[in-house]
Amino acid sequence: MNINFDKIWPYLPQFGQGVLVTLQLAALSAIGGTILGFALSLGGRQGSPVKWLVKGFVDFFRGTPLLIQLAFFHFGLPQITGWIPDLMTSTLIVFSCNSGAYLSEILRAGIESIDKGQIEAAHALGVKSFDITINIILPQALRNVLPAIMNEFITLVKETSVVSIIGLSDVMRKTSLIASATYRYFEPYLITMIIYLTLNIILSFIGKKLEKALRYD
């Protein structure tokens, strides 16, 4: 059988560097996406102009391919704006916006799943809308949609691999480079798959723990 890892081992540190980039990208985009997702889902509950802006934003980022968004933002926009962002900045912005759009829809569904009676009861007690959102709606909404949110984060980790195409040195790009340098393909891609799988198994483990922590029934 034509399997030989000997040529690959010397490149292990390269995999490591790639993983760090992937992790950084995924983690920062998840944070950016979560903040944006909250803002969008709450904005979507406001009056018309804000609501339509949010809807336009979500439609755009859900309705076009991520790879094209990335290429458009990194290569296309500088032609108009004259500002050439570095690769990491471009990808972080695009990934945050993209996952923010998906997360806002997930959160919206969660918010709508909360029974209106509780909100009425809180209003009747004289609780301000802000406190109702933070203390009544969001904790229950989050708990209801946590599995969907973890799903989105897992997707995000995997999708970061497209940045290799525009040249960011994530684990996927490192793998391609290692493959071309060693003329070995099976081994490096296998290693990379195992890396992604491990990351996501850890992520879903954390998700399960979180779900347990947020349980009240």
Binding site: H123, G126, V127
Partner: protein, 240 residues
């Protein structure tokens, strides 16, 4: 003092309240009765503006709630409400359900809120259910938590929107017993109910509604012996 002046409410084309005016005397108990769809709950929900009247004004302690929206939450704080479906906060224990508004609205410290909450939950007989979540409580217990939650705010008035309609007869009795204790202790109680016998027992006045209107507001004894309106007489006759 709570006053509704020429209040009307429409949902799309359906008229649910037709030019209703009524003044609630302080510290009295009112029972709103009438057949389903008469507008009883809507009337009740207009008092704390959970339902915004299409026209007319709602005045609580000389504040016109519709004109003076900024004061709405201060007024709501003084008017407790108990709902048909309890509406407890599902992710909070009985104790925290009661503590929540004490902390957020009354700005009590955590310790002070807890002392108050335990006091009121004890008053409704739930001192051994403090740390249970709503889904672990029976219907009657849930409603008693809801009553404690409203009472803890020390309201000047309590609104009960069919408080026992979702309960079986046994639980109904346990909740009615609690509501009875709130009679004539310094609050105005306004109760929408189908429990006619209960209304007869606790209310000072009966508000009889039919077809989006108040047909009469009559002292309880008088209402049951000789109602003013023909419709109320029919209603009572059908009850027996």
């Amino acid at each position: 003092m709570i006053k509704l002046i020429h209040v009307s409410k429409k949902f799309k084309e359906t008229v649910v309240l037709k030019n209703v005016s009524i003044e609630f005397e302080p510290e009295k108990t009112y029972a709103i009765i009438g057949s389903s769809g008469a507008g009883k709950s809507t009337l009740l929900r207009c008092i704390n503006l959970l339902e915004i009247p299409t026209t007319g004004s709602v005045i609580v302690d000389d504040i016109d709630l519709i004109k003076d929206k900024a004061k709405l939450s201060t007024v709501r704080e003084k008017i407790g409400m108990v709902f048909q479906n309890f509406n407890l906060f599902a992710h909070m224990t009985a104790l925290h359900n009661v503590m929540f508004a004490l902390i957020k609205v009354k700005k009590l410290s955590n310790e002070e809120a807890q002392i108050q909450a335990i006091k009121y939950l004890t008053e409704v007989g739930l001192q051994n259910r403090l740390n249970n979540y709503p889904h672990q409580l029976s219907g009657g217990e849930k409603q008693r938590v809801a009553i404690a939650r409203a009472l803890a705010m020390k309201p000047i008035a309590m609104l009960f929107d069919e408080p026992t309609s979702a309960l079986d007869p046994e639980m109904t009795q346990e909740v009615l017993k609690v509501i009875k204790k709130l009679n004539h202790i310094g609050m105005t109680n306004i109760i929408v109910t189908h429990e006619i016998k209960f209304a007869q027992e606790v209310a000072d006045y009966i508000i009889f509604m039919d077809n989006a209107e108040i047909l009469e507001v009559t002292p309880t004894q008088l209402f049951f012996s000789q109602p003013k309106s023909q419709r109320a007489a029919e209603f009572l006759f059908n009850m027996i």
